[in-house]
Amino acid sequence: MSAPKRLLEDPETAAALRSDLHSVASHQVNFDLAAGIARFEASLAAGSGAAGSGAAGSEAAGSEAAVASLKATLLKLGMAGVVAGGAVLGIALYSSNEPDAMSTNSAMLTNSAVSTPPPSPAIAPAVTRAATPAAPSAAETVERSDAAEPPVEPVKRATARPAAKARQLPAASSTETRDDLLQREIQNLRQIRQLVSANPGQALALANEGHSTFKGGVLYQEREALALQALSALGRRSELEARGDRYLRAFPNGSFSNRIRQLLGR
């Protein structure tokens, strides 16, 4: 059996049909790639290690209450598809994604897999959680204190100043909702991405500032990857090596690990 000639390539196809097919074949839907990437990274961060790290089991075992609550939040953010994909079931949206806090995520994943419903405050953003701790387990308490320090080196004053003047991020307030915080974090990431090639110094300052403002933010990995890209562009090799090593230790199979290895020449 041989395949028929494609309608688009067949001279015997009616011209009108060929023309219509061509218009569909070349049609581009409206798709915001930058926003899509930000959302995707957020979902990966929320379910970090989902691929091949045993987290898949925990996805299925997430508690109904946590899922319902999380779903409501994600739906507001237009992330219904992520919910449907099950990538974030039972996993805290705003659980810390910074390297020092990864053990917290692991503990939560394991707990939800066993069947204990995670307490609803687990989906609260880092800022809220810090302000109103909701009876975390003993293990969580210890690990959260470990997560308090962001894994970022102090921003060099000379680099930080112009960016701080131009686009200083407003501090997160205790009344800010989780959605607002995530929207601001996405916006911060967009700015960094736009600047990283044209003005790496400012992009780096914004990334460092973002790490401080969005402690435990779900977009930490991409922000740090962009910071490393900026360091590479600025030729600050020793800082690049130190931060790159720290990233790779924390996320050996992270979404940006291959790119960072390339930056480090490995």
């Binding site: 218009s23 598809g81 690990s257």
Partner: protein, 184 residues
Amino acid sequence: MAESQAHSEPLLDAGELFRRHARFVANFLWKLGIAAQEIDDLVQEVFVVAHKRGGFVEREARPTTWLAEIAVRVASTRRRSLGRAPRQVDMDDAATVPATSPGPSDIAEASQGLERVQRALDAMDLDHRAVFVLYELEGESCEQIALILDVPVGTVFSRLHTARKNFQKMHNRLLTLDKTRRTA
């Protein structure tokens, strides 16, 4: 162990895969009949599934082929979850087939030709539509489509034959209808 790890290492990391191919997936989902307002969510779903599968690894299929397979499954699940029965439209009812796929913004920018094709595609069930889109619009071979849809290649030929026949018939009717409206 080290060797198997090397073989299973993803060719592209998840973020890079998304960057390179999310637009393709968005357009492909649209061709499969996913409503414009749902595309963003389903693109996310496709890449989350891809990530959970361990990412794209070098194999016979191209990354787009591999992602198309996931997209067909995600679209199929989406249709089932909406309780949308495969649309079986009588060819005589061509004029009544609503253009479900494009949202308001798409309709505004779509040419009549675009709309005709989408409406003709909407008259197919997903099985036939996927084969038609993959073969006619994405240029996949019947053998690759058989792999993507996990069906025998003979089934692909059969679906393609039916899909082409119905598509051409429907398109012709829609074209005639448009001409009649213009001259009326």
